[in-house]
Symmetry: C2
Subunit: 254 residues, 2 copies
């Protein structure tokens, strides 16, 4: 039997420790092809490259997988891999492991999750992984067995069309992780406060800054599960229609 | 009574005819402040600027509104406007009018809609408008009365928290537009085919290309409404949780 073909991508760039760890974990499960950005793409959301060109190159990194670096966004990587690099349809697309959380509302800003969503749009099984640790030398190995378990279970139990997974891993030692909890996206947001500075030429400029505000205390919210030591898994869909409001809206607009 | 405060943004840049038309339409309804990108930002999705700085300037354009141009993405514009420019909470945020469709799956790639969604995350009433005409000199006036009608009705009938509107307008003359239809996001996707070329130095490069494939023929799909001559209005939410799959997923993963 053919080993499953697993496409790996991320948004921190092809050399980021997070994706190299994910590649190592996936090499034990299937045949791995990596197509990832040649530079960090955090916060790129579902951006695509339409007004400039793309280049790619095969690079040699440790391990049995093939590695291709692309001059584009995470979503570009998925599109390009499917059209130009892979010779058969992948059984699974995994994105990450992101250096930093993509829980709750962060799903909509995340390049990691946008790559996973793009794979879902293409009709593929797809999972995004993120660790709640922004550090470049974060420890990604503590969740290895859980990540491999989730991947194997998804390969065995394919998700319905239109659903991908958003997996977030708490920053805890291996034996402190309490397990896996299926969650909903917590109701949370960033409270912005732009940091204002003046450059040496007297011109004012700003850095996006702020703090994260979780407003959701329900037991099945991903932020709550993470704070209690669980790996959160949110099934994410990309049909954004608010069906429950359609009838009221018809009454107002039609 | 105070006139409603309307924040206007877009993704084609502050001087694009689409946003200038929308500003003119909104000036007849409320007090208008424009905070829009200083350069085209199409396809930027929900990108935010986190690894570089932002600058803005007030510019003088025709009309009673105030115009601010920002060196960021559409989502940056909404965040920046709320934190640094507006002195009171806007009654409505409108984004667009985009030069080109943001119907069906295009909602997830669209800077126009990401700005609208960001406003929704901030707890504001919000609408994105797009015209099915990529041309820079497209006629935006044919839908003026419909756009103003939608805005007035939303101001009068606030939407529930977590819902924003995605409005697409067919490329038709005023008397050919059949009316407004509340729709769901059609099941559709882009079939990619990257266009491969060689530069003068012998290096291969690619342009993202492809064609749009609508797979949804249901009468309430936005693509169908548009093809039948209606303005499509999809209520869009940003809680991406696939609630209907949570129970099954618990059985698989927990």
């Amino acid at each position: 039997m053919q080993r499953p073909l697993i496409l790996v991508t991320n948004d921190d760039g092809i050399t980021a420790p997070g994706v190299r760890n994910l590649v190592n974990f996936m090499n034990e499960i299937g045949e791995v092809v990596v197509v990832a950005p040649n530079s960090p793409q955090s916060g790129k959301g579902h951006a695509i490259t339409i007004n400039s060109t793309l280049t790619f190159e095969e690079i040699n990194l440790e391990g049995p997988q093939k590695d291709y670096s692309l001059s584009g966004t995470p979503v570009d990587c998925v599109k390009f891999a499917l059209d130009k690099i892979l010779t058969r349809k992948p059984d699974l697309v995994v994105s990450g492991i992101n250096h930093g959380a993509n829980s709750s509302i962060n799903v909509i800003y995340s390049g990691t999750m946008s790559a996973a969503v793009e794979a879902g749009v293409e009709g593929l099984q797809s999972i995004g992984f993120s660790l709640l640790d922004f550090s470049w030398d974060a420890d990604f190995t503590q969740a290895k067995s859980h990540i491999q378990e989730i991947v194997k279970k998804v390969l065995k139990n394919p998700m319905p069309k239109g659903v991908v997974l958003n997996v977030n891993i708490p920053k805890l030692a291996k034996d402190e992780i309490k397990g896996i909890r299926v969650c909903k996206q917590a109701d949370a947001k960033w409270e912005e406060s732009f940091d204002q500075r003046v450059n040496p030429h007297g011109k004012t400029y700003f850095w996006l800054s702020g703090y994260f505000n979780n407003m959701d205390t329900s037991s099945d919210a991903d932020e709550v599960a993470l704070s209690e030591g669980y790996i959160s898994v949110v099934p994410v869909k990309f049909d954004l229609t608010a069906y429950e409001y359609m009838q009221d809206l018809k009454g107002i607009l039609e």
